[in-house]
Symmetry: C2
Subunit: 299 residues, 2 copies
Amino acid sequence: MAVIECIPNVSEGRRPEIVAAMADAIRAVPTVRLLDFSSDASHNRSVFTFAGDAPGVERAVLALFERAIADIDLRVHKGEHPRMGAVDVVPFVPIEGVTMVECVELAKKVGATIADRFGIPVFLYEEASTNPLRKNLEDIRRGEFEGLAAKMATEGWAPDFGPSKPHPSAGASVVGARMALIAYNINLATDRLDVAKKIAAGIRHSSGGFRFVKAAGFTLGDRKIVQVSMNLTNYEKTPIFRVFEVVKREAARYGVNVLESEIVGLVPSAALHAAAEFYLQLEGFKPEQVLENKLRTEN
Amino acid sequence: MAVIECIPNVSEGRRPEIVAAMADAIRAVPTVRLLDFSSDASHNRSVFTFAGDAPGVERAVLALFERAIADIDLRVHKGEHPRMGAVDVVPFVPIEGVTMVECVELAKKVGATIADRFGIPVFLYEEASTNPLRKNLEDIRRGEFEGLAAKMATEGWAPDFGPSKPHPSAGASVVGARMALIAYNINLATDRLDVAKKIAAGIRHSSGGFRFVKAAGFTLGDRKIVQVSMNLTNYEKTPIFRVFEVVKREAARYGVNVLESEIVGLVPSAALHAAAEFYLQLEGFKPEQVLENKLRTEN
């Protein structure tokens, strides 16, 4: 069976009963599993993680929109996190037995349905993007809800689906397909923030590092250590082990050791297998040799 | 759902039609998947690998015995591999959602049924063993089919289930539970067989090495390199990465590099995750963080 993950971000993180109602709407779809959801009050935003087959995931997204439109009004919404829609962003992620191309198709189908059914403009992003200037979420969202009507009136900002003006209370939504994202941190055995910041600058894409790494340096004040905090946005093309080895080497340049690393939240099994394959110098290894993969694909 | 793997070894490797009929008997059980089977003509032996829930695996084993008893006569069986039964050995291996204790219980239940239904003596081994002198397969099988009647007449060799004499044509069977076994080889960038042999001696249990490692040194003549060939019999207690690192270090002592390693056949996903966890220095990592595990256990 195909498994697609969907991680919608919704502009409500302060009213638990509203968030719970949205979670229930997702859970009500039989072929979908709600894996996680969490709210941030200062961001006034919630993130849901669920997975299922394509029809189930589509149904769950539409059910979520129905609730969000009824309960969220961006004209009165305040929060630290940038946003332009009640359901702000909806990524589809291929997990098992499904290709990126199929997730792109699903994003377009669901995007068109959202526009038709709810009168919400939809912008496609990442792998589903139809315009290189509208691939990054940050570029599409720049100006936020408050600047959206003006932005949509300028050339190049007609939505992919739906009306040419924002929905009065629900704004616009960004829908697309992307690889699974890994939140990965490396903690250094030092309190020198400059070291973490220099390493982060060296490995992140924006300043010349790996293409699929976003990184920043932080202090973990309570532990008196520093952290290189990362998002790995394509673990197949920029694998964990390569990032880890480069961070370790760059830290050594400052006489600093890696204390530990951590994965925050979920990680695809294949991302860990790739690390094992690298370090054990495994030759000719095939995914079918993983017992669990074999169990799920054979016969 | 619980997943138990079963890897019966059968004393027939020369008549493909007989082997195919046994494979079909396993495939006929709806809740079981036949993952692999292979025959060795010089050993005159076949190995089946299948997996399923406890009732399914039990049914498949009994169906296999029914065919094997009809088609195999050990009085006329010749082959290089030691054997004492038509179905020589039946291990149950816990894979997912099932404990070793449950696999031991299943081994005892299936063993008793084999004895009752087919009149075959059954010896329990490995984790299911009820006697420390009868834990290792090699100890139980010593003397083979030809010496079995005499052996069973001596003290301490009454079977765990069934008659006190061998079945005339099917001998006796060894049934038990064990951890998944990983066939793991490390190839060295040298043609010096003495180096592979010394390293194998250093890491294997029998000569003072790791408790759950069997190892030997070989020449891969066609490639002009040598190999440390291993069976890892408990990857939780003697993990792949520790064995790899020690082999690498011992090779360095002789000025030799590790060229590559290889996993032969199947490997449990968790064994690779443990390697990733070690090399990436992952702190606080939990199996539930693996997306595929989460998908299969939640809701």
